[in-house]
Symmetry: D2
Subunit: 337 residues, 4 copies
């Protein structure tokens, strides 16, 4: 941590700060410049995270030198992590191809979707049983009934199941049926939920919050790892900006950025990111070229009748074409799937 | 709902859409323009919220005409709501002055803070027992112990207590001690939590999410009202933008905007919005002039030692001056407190 | 400037950096921590602005300590500046009340507007002769004819005239007619235009860019001062965010923020910021409470027929009520006008 | 255009609106719903762009049905445009590979850069002679001297030259030396400059503004086309968001989005978008997969000594590797270059 003193800071104020740093077990290194005095805190500055240094008299600003996360960082673990979801691997050259309906609606359409996406090459089945909806009057998901249908679809197709968990009370229930738990964008900083899935044994797909910086996203992953669960996959799904033509703004540079800061795998969700069926396939290709370890695509056999997100769902045959167009790119990137 | 057809839409596509609208109980009104055909859906368009109209063949875009919320709207209830928190009223000319530490830390400093803010004119005590922190390594709050201290401070000062509830499991516990439940910005779309406090009996302070539009904020309030709890106070606390000088960007126009769309009271939190002690007082004054029904200010007797948000906490004497500077403005606005 | 070396930086890399700093006339101060070595550059770090320190081998990041601006800063000039526009003063307790049509359209409506706003208490007449319009097919302003009408309105009312200049070629022409030159939001970083008005003698109203940080806004003001023209008034007019209910998001905290960083006066434009007639008056009041040195409001006698921005223009009688509601606030704030 | 009336709108207000539409040559189509009356304006609604419909009594909101642009739209010209820059083509399957230094600094380093990028496969030389810099104290470019060096580099290498024009006065001068004129992001809504290059004969590279929507970007292109110059190439270079790890947020979905709305070619600048050398190559690959018609990369032989943007410039050998890694992707996408 570096602390910049105000131009008019007194010796007493500098000494007061230095005492505080010593009290926290750090060594102070004072550098007197022509316009400002700067105090460097030597030692593990994470002990200062709770100290409001800018509230100290005479302090102009403080600058953190180290990243605030530890277990998720490349410094802690230089080689890329590989996360297993049932027999499927994601990361370290293994590519996850998640597909399925936004919401689980009924057995017939789920079965049809699961069989078709498997035939096209998907290796994970995604679908929501508990649905976070902006409106209290919108379809809220089938709940446990939906989980049962997902498990039945796994039996029939062999595809491991990825589904969302919305609150701490559901973690046990959802873990009983699912192979991977999804934390939705709106829950990325639901810290109690992060702790709960961190104490579980299922791998976690952590979506980036609508207005979360890359570092905050990694801090949310750190919450999960800090509880003992190291099987976390990050999911970029678009951030909120002023642009309205697309539903969100897909931040593809976040893929290599997260990967240079962290060893965790990163997948991309072009369906939620763009909100437009016409853009899903092309952005899936861009995601692969950006180094993504997987993609997640919404597929529905009858988008007109979808109870949620029909606007952005691909038809099974569109999904099939999308996968075919991905294959040469996956080969160039050396991905296994 | 208005549906704009593509230039090249066929009669069959238009008919297919019209059939769907009829199926949903709506009447279709077709308007053929020189460049586009437009279909108006007559009736309560909320039945179309789950229908992915833009996924229909031939459809270019759909435009919602009615607001998606109902119970919170001015159309539903034209006169402003007044929410009671113990003996204190907020809204309809009654002004809520919330103050207290970011986190409850110990009895001595809480007691000192509570007594001093009361002497300065605060009518509600705010403070966190369960704390949502970006880092898993930061102080997470005293939990139930903190709730007990808050209740004890209420006994000593008479100030009703406002404190945060972070997950569905805590609602009952926190309701036992608090007079008003706060939903934090990061939980504004934790829909299960909204339902849980909506089924309770305590008034709710609903903070606006970091990247929530005014309409999404009102939809989250609608979640609470739809469960039967009509005692909701909105809290503007700054949104996330590209500006970094302030911690967030205080969107003061959201105060009159929310009030023209909704009957719910709106308070403002200049502490979290600005993140800078030097800006808290002046923005509190601006909030009053913008028509706020209350303000919430962080106060700590020793900000240097605060376990959270020390940078933005006012000293009790600074709070006292802030309130004195508010009084003439409150008189002009005709607020009672 | 502080330069943080990577964990694995070599001595040779540190020495190479230190040499570069010496070459630039700075002294290097090396601080070896447990996890990182940090190099402080002692001296006026502005000589490093063009040096890509993060491109140096072994460097992790560089942190600027001093503000990049100088002439506009409070350190350079602690007391607030007062800018004269004809006989009217803005800043240092003097309040500027700018009003008028978005565009100058014809003599009759301009004259009517000017007389009425003057009667209501406006002390400056604003109106556009050259109009920056998003569409090439929209009304582009009357040009020099509009300038002549503005000058004629000044003769009749005594109100000094504020009007926009859009390109370097217009500076001389507009200066012949206007008392203050406005730089529009979309031209805030039209650096050649900033230089041109900086070399002129007319005071400048510098609108904040749609996505400009407070520091970039001050750097644009620095451009003007650096050419010799010290008469600059800043104008906050809303920034672009994800919120769509208002046309822009009025960043009122930018008023006290800019004033703690700089000695320049700051006025607020609630008309462009909100884009909604119903919000203009209340946000004007909030601006005064936030410490603004003036406000700028669009007024049009027949908004329906306005050739631009009719949606947000007040009727003269609405403006009159707005000013009446401002007066008690201006008295509290101790403003003269 | 569709105009939604307020619930309480009177017949007189509806008639008043209908009269206005007729006056503008449009036919009104009235649709009376259960909760709102809606008025559709039949005819070319662009005549309403200057009419402040929301200022009309009784109007709740107006919704534009047609895109505001015309000449740049796919409806106007369905097939993709191909823009020629000297002998090089961009668009319609032709790929532009622009490379060169941020600023032209001296003959030796420009020559070295130009020869090396040509050897690596670049087909256009980019470099700034007039530089828009945030600080008035930073290097402002060599001016005409820089243009001469660029022309000399073209003679030696055969690479056509792309360089920025900053104000209306420079258009003629820069056109004398350059093969393509660049409009910088900060000038995207410098409308007089857009008109000036629209009246010229050189092709234009139009960078997207930092906070410009895709539609505003297309409207700026429309300005150029409306003056008679149809040779416009769009350039996505990152938008401004809350994320700070990257300099800007590269909005790659804007590439296919702009291409479905418009026939103009779109290139991508990963250097300015990311601001990090480590991310340039991977985002260039993602841009190709997203369907870009070209990319623009900053290359400098000695980034440490670059007078601008050294942090994000690639070394010539890094550029060479980047191009090699692009080639298999370009083949998949079927691009010629």
């Amino acid at each position: 941590m570096i602390i910049v003193m105000r131009k008019e800071a007194t010796e007493a104020q500098i000494n007061h700060l230095v005492e505080k740093l010593k009290e926290k077990g750090l060594t102070a290194h004072i550098s007197r410049g022509t316009e400002r005095t700067i105090v460097g805190a030597i030692g593990d500055e994470r002990v200062l995270q709770a100290v409001p240094l800018e509230a100290f008299p005479g302090v102009e600003k403080s600058v953190q030198i180290l990243q605030p996360f530890k277990l998720v960082s490349r410094e802690f673990k230089p080689e890329p992590s590989v996360v297993s979801v049932g027999p499927v691997k994601i990361g370290g050259g293994h590519f996850g191809l998640l597909a399925g309906p936004c919401s689980v609606e009924d057995w017939e359409s789920l079965r049809e979707t699961a069989l078709k996406i498997k035939a096209s090459g998907a290796n994970l089945l995604r679908g929501g049983a508990f649905k976070p909806r902006t409106s209290p009057y919108a379809f809220q998901g089938l709940g446990e009934e939906g989980l049962k249908l997902l498990a039945r679809a796994r039996e029939e197709t062999g595809l491991p199941v990825v589904t969302e968990v919305m609150n701490v009370n559901q973690v046990e229930l959802v873990s009983r049926y699912a192979d991977m738990l999804q934390i939705g964008a709106r829950n990325m900083q639901n810290f109690d939920l992060l702790k709960a899935v961190g104490q579980g044994t299922k791998p976690v797909l952590l979506k980036r919050g609508l207005s979360a910086t890359i570092k905050e996203w990694l801090m949310s992953a750190e919450y999960i790892l800090s509880q003992g669960n190291y099987d976390v996959v990050l999911c970029e799904r678009g951030i909120r900006t002023f642009e309205t033509y697309t539903r969100n703004t897909l931040d593809l540079a976040a893929v290599p950025a997260a990967k240079e800061l962290s060893h965790l795998p990163v997948v991309v969700d072009p369906s939620h990111a763009t909100g437009r069926r016409s853009l899903v396939g092309v952005m899936a290709r861009a995601a692969v070229a950006a180094g993504a370890d997987g993609i997640s695509i919404e597929v529905h056999p009858h988008p007109e009748d979808a109870l949620s997100d029909g606007d952005q769902s691909l038809l099974p045959e569109e999904f099939d074409q999308t996968v075919k167009a991905l294959e040469p790119l996956l080969r160039i990137e050396g991905k296994k799937w």
